[in-house]
């Protein structure tokens, strides 16, 4: 019962912060909402016994990514943003129904056979060990590719910033 209440509280928090991110005009507020959102999702991971991910979420997402955003915003934007009339106001009236339609489609997910069949009894080990074992066996190759991906991103960023210096 407690877990159900916790879920609904977290869900409200996560959805609320997401809406806040999208609606607020000030990007700084948006970034803070993003941090809240990411933290909320981390808590949801904990509830699903994915402890490793919860930790990674806080460290990588909330700790690094969101901070980068805040940093970029502080450096770049003097004061408020998105002033003046929105030339694409009409688009909002299209975007929201289309998004709603997408939500409707995804709501059909709940009719999936996956959720109607009875659940397998085995509980999933969520600790570092289980995930780590997977990463270094089945997912060894993508794991190595990830390192390459990060290297590519690094070089890309270097290239973008180095040119400024010269």
């Amino acid at each position: 019962m407690g877990s159900v209440i916790a879920f609904w509280i977290l869900a409200a928090l996560v959805v609320g912060s997401a809406v806040g991110l999208v609606v607020r005009r000030n990007p700084i507020h948006g970034a803070l909402f993003l941090v809240v959102n990411l933290g909320g999702v981390a808590a949801l991971y904990l509830m699903m016994h994915a402890e490793f991910l919860a930790a990674a979420q806080v460290i990588v997402y909330a700790g690094a990514i969101a901070v980068l955003f805040v940093f970029a915003i502080m450096v770049l934007i003097p004061g408020k943003e998105e002033t003046g009339p929105d030339p694409l106001r009409a688009q909002r009236w299209l975007a929201v129904p289309l998004g709603g339609f997408l939500a409707l489609e995804i709501a059909l997910v709940l009719r999936s056979t996956v959720f109607t069949t009875s659940r397998s009894p085995a509980t999933v080990p969520g600790g570092v060990e289980a995930v780590g074992r997977l990463l270094f066996t089945d997912y060894l190759f993508p794991f190595e590719v990830t390192s390459f991906l990060l290297l590519a991103a690094l070089i890309g960023v270097m290239a973008l910033t180095k040119r400024k210096a010269s």
């Binding site: 003046g84 009339p85 030339p87 694409l88 009409a90 688009q91 299209l94 975007a95 289309l98 998004g99 339609f101 997408l102 489609e105 059909l108």
Partner: protein
């Protein structure tokens, strides 16, 4: 024989390559490469022809072109009596016209370029005739079109010339689209594109509807290439090209490719009688339609262009009523006399320093004797006066139409014959005889063309005179020509009465007489020729307004649609105030906020809409 056959296209190909690569060095000596190349090619064709007369045929592959899984197509050459005749015409007439061009194009800046294109054309045309399967036929069908496009726009400094080139290409695309589909349909129906195999498998096991579809699609291609209704509009404009090009490509050879193709695939057409009927009627209607436009044109080359369209109509009418040999025979004789007429017209134009307007000609016969005599021979040939070639070949078609029970078609063709005789002798009287309407300057410079131009005229005139008598005299077993083609086309029944020839001669003479009464008996002024006398005349002068119709129905809406799509379709919902790139750039520079629309969001909206639509579609299908 194999080596001999491949030599025919090889010579012009080598000529093309040499002139293309070393054109700058060779410059005004380009004809020393191009003309001998054609001569050699002609000799090879002749040798092949002699072997074929002896009953030999040849089919062989150069190499496998596309061979993937079940689908195999090779570069195949096929020589039978039909292709042997075509080869002889293409290389023979081609050789004479090359020779003539050496004089006509003398001093032109693009001399080497001209001969490069011309050789390339002959190569492609020879390959088109030699092709042993439909795919190869299609390839060189496109290739000759490309050469035609290049040569029409040869004098690209003239806007009208490059426009004409473009028009030719676009109209031909319409035809080729059908042709391409037809070939695909052949492939799916028979599983092969090889002539021999396709025709062998063409039996009752395939439905008539399929045959009809194939035949009509192929005929669509033929209509484009051979300028038949309603795709005829490009040919008169194609006269913007140099005159030898008009003679070679737009009279003697390329435009007849459609007739050749229909004759070649007659097995398929015969499986669908309706399609042959359509071929005949399109041919007949085109013959009369184009001839009637030819009645009032004032540009000497345009008259000849409409005449070509009309004569091609005769060929299709012949093929359509099943008289294949007669159609091909007319193709051959037409190649002679129409090339002669074009080259003669070119000689006149050359002698008048570029004047093409009939209203500014007249009375030049005494000063251009060879040209005048040969032109009259050609005109008589076209009009169908006996005993010239045109008489025999046209008569064959008329007789076939009459005896196959196409009475209405026969009458149509007869009317066309009358008009033909009239318009061509109108040209003769206006250009060569009567009163001089030349400008002072032109009158001063009138001169006969050099021998390099008049010799081909004389040779073609000779051919026009003898070809009919030698090949076209009817006998109990058909003409000599049809006997030669008997291995390809089923033998036609022979021994027709004298009624048809008599009627056609009377009609032709009547046409000539009328022309004489109107234009030859007394001098006419330039105004009399040009001013539309009544609504009909005006309709004819405007070529039945076909070009205007096409422009209004196809061209303008397409551009409007394109512009509309560029703005609306691709940008989604945007501010209607913005309507021009230039204006936007300026507006941006001025920092006007009202035109700054955030396109990234528009693009993203498009993507979302697409994703939603795809998911909705898939879900709906899964229900």
């Amino acid at each position: 024989m194999a080596r001999l056959v491949w030599l025919i296209p090889l010579f012009p190909l080598v000529g093309t390559l040499v002139n293309a690569l070393f054109g700058r060095v060779i410059g005004h000596r380009a004809h020393w490469i191009a003309v001998p190349a054609l001569g050699a090619s002609f000799l090879a064709s002749y040798a092949v022809f002699v072997r074929v007369s002896g009953g030999e045929t040849y089919t062989g592959d150069l190499f496998q072109w596309i061979a993937a899984g079940s689908f195999q197509t090779a570069i195949t050459a096929q020589v039978d009596p039909l292709s042997a005749v075509m080869l002889l015409v293409v290389t023979g007439v081609g050789f004479l016209i090359h020779l003539y061009s050496a004089g006509y194009m003398h001093g032109d800046d693009g001399y080497a370029r001209f001969f490069t294109y011309l050789n390339l054309f002959v190569f492609s045309m020879v390959m088109l005739v030699l092709a042993g399967n439909f795919l190869l036929l299609y390839v060189f069908w496109e290739a000759v079109g490309l050469c035609s496009y290049l040569l029409i726009g040869f004098w690209y400094q003239k806007q009208s010339a490059s426009d004409a080139g473009k028009k030719a290409f676009i109209v031909n695309r319409v035809g080729d689209f059908g042709f391409g589909l037809g070939i695909m349909l052949i492939w799916t129906t028979f599983g092969t594109l090889d002539y021999g195999e396709v025709f062998a498998r063409a039996d009752a096991s395939v439905s008539v509807a399929t045959y009809t579809a194939i035949a009509l699609l192929l005929f669509m291609g033929a209509c484009g290439k051979s300028a038949q209704l309603p795709l005829h509009t490009w040919l008169p404009d194609a006269m913007e090209g140099p005159t030898p090009v008009s003679a070679l490509i737009h009279a003697a050879t390329m435009v007849t490719a459609g007739v050749y193709m229909v004759a070649r695939s007659h097995k398929l057409f015969e499986m669908a009688p309706v399609s042959l009927e359509i071929v005949a009627w399109v041919g007949g209607l085109t013959a009369v339609f184009a001839a009637s436009i030819g009645l009032v044109q004032t540009d000497i080359k345009r008259v000849l262009a409409y005449s070509t369209i009309s004569q091609l109509g005769y060929m299709f009418a012949g093929v359509g009523v099943g008289a294949y040999a007669a159609g091909i025979f007319h193709l051959v004789t037409h190649a002679f006399f129409k090339a002669l007429l074009f080259l003669g017209a070119g000689s006149v134009i050359h002698g008048l320093s570029g004047e093409q307007d009939l209203r500014k000609m007249g009375a030049i016969a005494p000063r251009m004797r060879v040209t005048a005599v040969t032109f009259v021979v050609g005109a008589a040939g076209l009009a169908g006066l006996p005993p010239l070639a045109g008489f025999f070949s046209k008569d064959e078609i008329l007789a076939a139409a009459a005896s196959e029970g196409h009475t209405l078609l026969f009458l149509l063709l007869l009317a066309g014959a009358f008009m033909t005789a009239f318009y061509i002798f109108r040209v003769v009287f206006l250009a060569l005889f009567g009163a001089s309407r030349l400008s002072h300057e032109a009158a001063h410079h009138v001169h006969e063309s050099p021998a390099v131009m008049t010799v081909p005229l004389a040779v073609l005139a000779g051919l026009t005179v003898v070809a009919g008598l030698a090949l076209g005299l009817p006998s109990a077993h058909g003409t000599a020509f049809s006997r030669f083609l008997a291995p390809v086309f089923p033998a036609e029944e022979a021994a027709r009465g004298l009624a048809v020839p008599l009627v056609s001669v009377v009609v032709a003479v009547a046409g000539v007489l009328l022309a004489w009464l109107m234009y030859g008996r007394r001098p006419v002024t330039a105004e009399e020729i040009a001013v539309p006398k009544n609504a009909l005349h005006s309709l004819l002068l405007h070529k039945y307004y076909v070009d205007e119709l096409y422009d209004a129905v196809f061209v303008r809406p397409l551009f409007a649609l394109s512009g509309w799509c560029a703005r609306v379709f691709d940008l989604g919902v945007i501010d209607g105030a913005v309507n021009g790139i230039g204006r936007l750039v300026v507006a941006w520079a001025q920092g006007l906020r009202r035109v700054q629309t955030g396109f990234v969001m528009n693009y993203a909206l498009g993507m979302l809409a697409g994703a939603v639509a795809i998911v909705a579609f898939l879900l709906a299908r899964a229900r």
